[in-house]
Symmetry: C2
Subunit: 360 residues, 2 copies
């Protein structure tokens, strides 16, 4: 097992990464302060890991709530099911929530923890690659609004993140690929050496090589933890983590939540950002092709869906959280490993990107 | 105009108190950081003050959302109307929300501000006495759950509180009395001298003497600001502000939100806490009668409704936020002006209070 720390002063917390951690109660028990534990999971994960997760908290008052699975359920109505379960069991403000599942479960459980009785503790137990390398770390929580992703939420850090890499054994291939999109992202925005590693090792990761997966998860979490520690509330560099996300969120919303996985949408979105960076005269043609090859190797889409016209993109992107005073702020690349945020780019290059970067 | 400050380091903010402040744009404009302002109000307040409030923000992009009036609408469904309005207008994360109304509007708008795009600015413009002396100050925001009051929310401080005492001209008598319950509370928990002032001046306050009202509001806000500055997140003394609230919240929920006003419910609740304090051997019979006389002068109920049996109280109080490990923590009085929190009292004294302190 390896342990990283997200360094946020008195709100610092550990990320434990390793095999068989769902059988190690000593990792989670120090993070439960009261007597009541509510495990939040979904219909896909519950049959696989709920019993093991419950056993971690033997001796506490443990309850669970099993939500429907999918991005289309990451909304206020589903959030209400968690509040109902907590209220019906009379859970008090010293209770602990446990998010057992992927990114949707982590985000919605985190927001329930941020807002139940004005804030209770929670522990992240991510079971998808995407949640393990990205969404379980950093305290961004929330739900979607029909008109935009993650529009309702809070910054609320967990007490601990427990990444049992054995849970990836049951992950379907499409979800594994989706997780790799966020892994590749770290290479693109700030870790060129990691990108080179991935160019070589993506086939091993797809083949679920345990050692390589553990390394890729750890290096991703290390990148994430460093960015979050420097800029918890996204006043500056944390925004770089959103490479491809403004385009990607538009795809997710435009196609209907749950149809394109988040990782799939941001893969196409990162390619759009890459193409625009190339049009800006920054990213070389060769590096654009390296990006494309990496996503293709990871079995991810590199073009947006045909249904997403430039007009539809503009309509949906105008509601993004990164819009300031009417300008859509985008994360762009100077080169592989060097990202920056800008609202100050020629508008026609964004138009050209939306028009030109499409499947033949 | 008088100005108090809630001293919370970089989150400090002013409380401006005076007549005609709804005609003074210079008070609010420094607190708007972006270009977009969303005024949240209700169907009662909108015809009276929405135009004046909009005029304060002349030159900004101003929108409004008018909610139904009443505690029964302080819920997730109404909150959603605010999110919808913000999303439809494409308000960005630099927008400012303005809460124009009573405690319900302030709490729900504050929570919308805490959670929209993970947190935006807001300004409190309270128009009821209760909101002016209590709920607009201190950053407690939230909505009710069908099984308990204020169970979903956040700590989120406003940028400023603007108390235009002229708005009390249009307040109905019942609401004025309800506000006095919170005013009297400050005397009871920590300001015996203020309680003595109130024993003499409550008739003037009921007669809407502007000078006395301004004084009572200012002294209440001073008490509140001092407590909040010392204990923003209710780790200790802030809990004293809940005198009568555990009983009172049970009354509000038990009678159906909106039937007993919050101030009415906590007046009866404070008397129950007083009676129990008397049974504990602390509060003298004479002081209990002084409390009763003050609430009666303020035209507030001093007994819980007949429908609220001891069994019903216990059932509803068990879900209170102040419950810890199954013990109902109560705010009790050593004397007028001296409150304390305890979960360690003889259970039979709580039972006797629920059984004995009732209308003949």
């Amino acid at each position: 097992m390896n342990t990283l720390t997200v360094d946020l002063g008195e709100r610092s917390y550990p990320i434990h990464i390793g095999r068989g951690l769902l059988r190690q109660p000593e990792l989670v028990r120090p993070h439960v302060h009261g007597t009541q534990v509510m495990i939040v999971t979904n219909t896909t994960v519950a049959p696989l890991y709920l019993d093991a997760c419950r056993a971690l908290f033997d001796g506490f008052e443990v309850a669970d709530v099993v939500l429907p699975d999918g991005e289309q359920y990451k909304n206020l109505d589903t959030l209400k099911l968690i509040y109902d379960a907590l209220m019906e069991r009379r859970f008090d403000r010293r209770c602990t929530l446990v998010a057992l599942g992927g990114g949707v479960i982590g985000d919605i459980t985190g927001f329930a923890a941020a807002s139940y009785q004005r804030g209770v503790n929670f522990i992240q137990v991510p079971t998808t690659l995407l949640a393990q390398v990205d969404s379980s770390v950093g305290g961004k929580t929330g739900v979607n609004h029909p008109l935009g992703k993650n529009m309702i939420g809070a910054f609320h850090q967990p007490q601990a993140v427990i990444i049992d890499t054995d849970t990836l054994d049951t992950l379907e291939d499409r979800q594994l690929s989706a997780g790799l999109a966020e892994v590749i992202k770290y290479g693109l925005i700030r870790d060129a050496e990691f990108f080179e590693y991935l160019e070589e090792r993506l086939p091993d990761l797809l083949a679920r090589d345990k050692g390589q997966l553990a390394y890729a998860i750890e290096r991703s979490c290390w990148n994430k933890a460093e960015v979050v520690a420097a800029d918890e509330r996204e006043a500056g560099q944390r925004a770089l983590l959103n490479l491809g996300h403004t385009f990607g969120h538009a795809i997710e919303a435009g196609m209907g939540y749950g149809n394109w996985l988040h990782g799939e949408a941001i893969a196409a979105g990162m390619m759009q950002a890459g193409y625009m960076s190339h049009l800006m005269g920054d990213l070389s043609e060769a590096d654009l092709q390296r990006m494309k090859a990496a996503f293709e190797t990871a079995r991810l889409p590199v073009y947006p869906p045909a249904e997403m016209t430039p007009e539809r993109f503009m309509e949906l992107m105008a509601g993004d959280k990164k819009v300031q005073a009417g300008r859509i702020r985008l994360v762009l690349l100077k080169a592989i490993g060097q990202a920056y945020v800008s609202g100050d780019y020629p508008a026609e290059l964004l138009q050209r990107t939306l028009t030109e970067w499409r499947a033949a």
